[in-house]
Amino acid sequence: MIEAVLERSYYVVVLALAGIGAYMTIGDRHLVKKVIGLNVFQTAIFLFFIAAAFVDGGSPPLLSAPAPYVSPLPHVLILTAIVVGVSLTAVALGLIVRIYNRYGTMHEDTLRELMADD
């Protein structure tokens, strides 16, 4: 059991991060912390891709010499996904600034009360 976990330590970290991120996104009442949770959740998926890129005993496709090899494709994919994630964070923070200017709060419960009065 312990050996199996140690062998897959990458995936344990990924799973833990994804859980923390999802919990923050759903459970935290503060809007900015929700967005941070979303970022943690996305980062967990990025790390999953990067861990998957490492092939044990794999060799580069063009050079025949056995060299330590990491597949470049997931890295390129994640580069794109990071750009998407940054844009999402920017939009989310922009929306939070607008909500704050309008209602003067970033706390979900207070916000709900204020919106019910509208």
Binding site: K34, F49, V84, S87, L88, I99, D118
Partner: protein, 482 residues
């Protein structure tokens, strides 16, 4: 002319950049540029659709051939989506001139949404689909927030959080599929997954994550909660645009993932997957209708009605018979026209009389005859009264469900039709039977009136073409189910 699949993505992208750039020099120049772009896009989309009648059109992006590079593949189903996106955008942009918002950045964002949606329809690569999904999502969040009130910003943030979790799950699903096969091209994935075997845990996990991720975007019950908030919080123009297109194209992507990547064989090997799809479909159809009956606001009622209608499409995917999928294709197009038009009518009613709640609809026929008449036609079309397009789609799906032995689904579809009648009848009775409290009315711009009348006529006219369309799309559906 084989560059068309790339052109339909490039044209709105160029239009968006031009609109944004023109706004730096002179503000309020967005409308003509956006309208011109939408016109060019419609012509390009129709040309593409004509090409796909002879079979799928392929385009190699950047000269890197598949499976190493990204490939664009458009069949008739994808081309139908591209045409639908172009036509609906044309109508909505035309109305936006009078209904607002009118800033250049707004029109640029609308065109970016078109880029994302069109990209999702033409791509043949699962990761490329993710990128276009996020482009669609980002522009949709920004558009929902285009309203003046604080409510739209809150709705947009909620939409963003739920939408991002959905897209991330889809991305995780891609990761699983990539680990299993080492490829991202849809056609190549289908071959490789078959080699690994559809009962492998890795493959099943990939299917589950990708499908659940797209479920969020389609707004399947119980992960539909973002949809009513977003549709009700957005300005009327935006509600019409995103209700007609965003979930529709997500449902198209779901069809792509289930049948092009995982194929029918996967559903046969994993009865549990099919059972989950059926359960999600039935839950959406019933819960969407029941929740719609309880709404007091017109736009929220329409949003919950969407949850129910997309349940129908998910049901067709679960049944996976040619008839049901033909029904899904017809219903996707028909629902987009009906629901988009209904939101435009809701905007027209609000402009003319200021009414946004169902209780205030009394005697609407005296106050805005055009609004009341089109609302009546579209509502009955939505219920599925022949000869409207809403009937044809439902009919084919129900027929397919009976063919496939899914009697439960057929019963649910019939029951939901009655529920749909219930919530629309409640509104229609107020509009046509009761007396109006006052007869005063505000003038509605003619473009707005013409657009909703054209849409109401189209809902009937599309029925005439539906049977012919069913015959045309038969080979495409056949290839999908092969």
């Amino acid at each position: 002319m084989t560059d068309l699949p790339a052109l339909v993505v490039a044209v709105p992208l160029l239009g968006a950049v031009l609109t944004a750039a023109a706004g730096l020099i002179r503000s309020r120049t967005g409308w003509p540029i956006a309208l011109l772009t939408a016109l060019v896009q419609t012509v390009a989309a129709l040309a593409l659709a004509r090409l796909t009648l002879d079979g799928p059109v392929r385009y190699v992006v950047g000269g890197y051939t598949a499976p190493y590079g990204i490939e664009l593949v458009v069949d008739l189903l994808g081309a139908s989506m591209v045409v639908l996106i172009a036509v609906v955008t044309l109508g909505v942009v035309a109305v936006a001139r009078s209904l607002g918002p009118r800033s250049n950045t707004f029109f640029a964002t609308v065109l970016l949404l078109v880029v994302g949606l069109t990209g999702m329809s033409v791509t043949g690569d699962v990761f490329n689909l993710y990128v276009f999904l996020e482009i669609t999502g980002l522009s949709a969040y920004a558009l929902v927030a285009a309203g003046e009130e604080g409510r739209s910003a809150v709705a947009a943030l909620k939409y963003l959080i739920v939408g991002t979790v959905g897209a991330s799950l889809y991305l995780l699903g891609i990761g699983y599929a990539y680990v299993a096969t080492g490829t991202l091209n849809m056609a190549h994935l289908a071959d490789e997954l078959a080699v690994i075997g559809y009962d492998a845990t890795l493959v099943q996990a990939a299917f589950g994550l990708m499908v659940v991720g797209l479920f969020v975007k389609v707004a399947v019950f119980p992960i539909h909660t973002w949809q009513p908030t977003a549709y009700a919080g957005a300005p009327d123009t935006v509600s019409a645009l995103i209700s007609a297109l965003v979930s529709t194209v997500a449902a198209y992507a779901l069809i792509r993932i289930v049948f092009t990547v995982f194929t029918v064989e996967f559903l046969v090997t994993n009865p549990a997957a099919r059972a989950v799809l059926l359960a999600a479909s039935a839950a959406s159809i019933v819960a969407g209708s029941v929740l719609a009956v309880r709404q007091t606001e017109i736009k929220r009622l329409l949003a919950y009605s969407s949850v129910s209608q997309y349940g129908l499409v998910v049901g067709a995917i679960a049944v996976a018979t040619p008839t049901a999928l033909t029904g899904a294709a017809i219903h996707l197009v028909g629902h987009a026209v009906m629901k988009g038009a209904l939101f435009l009518v809701a905007g027209l009613i609000a402009t003319a009389t200021g009414v946004r709640r169902i209780d205030d609809l009394d005697g609407l026929v005296d106050r805005t005859p055009v609004g009341a008449a089109t609302f009546g036609v579209l509502a009955l079309a939505m219920v599925g009264v022949p000869p409207a397009i809403g009937f044809v789609g439902k009919w084919f799906v129900a027929l397919g469900a009976i063919e496939g032995g899914a009697w439960g689904l057929a019963v649910v579809i019939f029951a939901s039709t009655l529920l749909t009648l219930a919530y629309f009848l409640r509104a229609l009775e107020r509009v046509f039977v009761r007396d109006a409290p006052s007869k005063e009315r505000d003038p509605v711009p003619w473009v707005h009136r013409v657009t909703v009348v054209v849409a109401a006529v189209a809902v009937i006219a599309l029925t005439l073409g539906a049977v012919e369309y069913a015959a045309l799309i038969e080979p495409t559906i056949g290839r999908l189910l092969a």
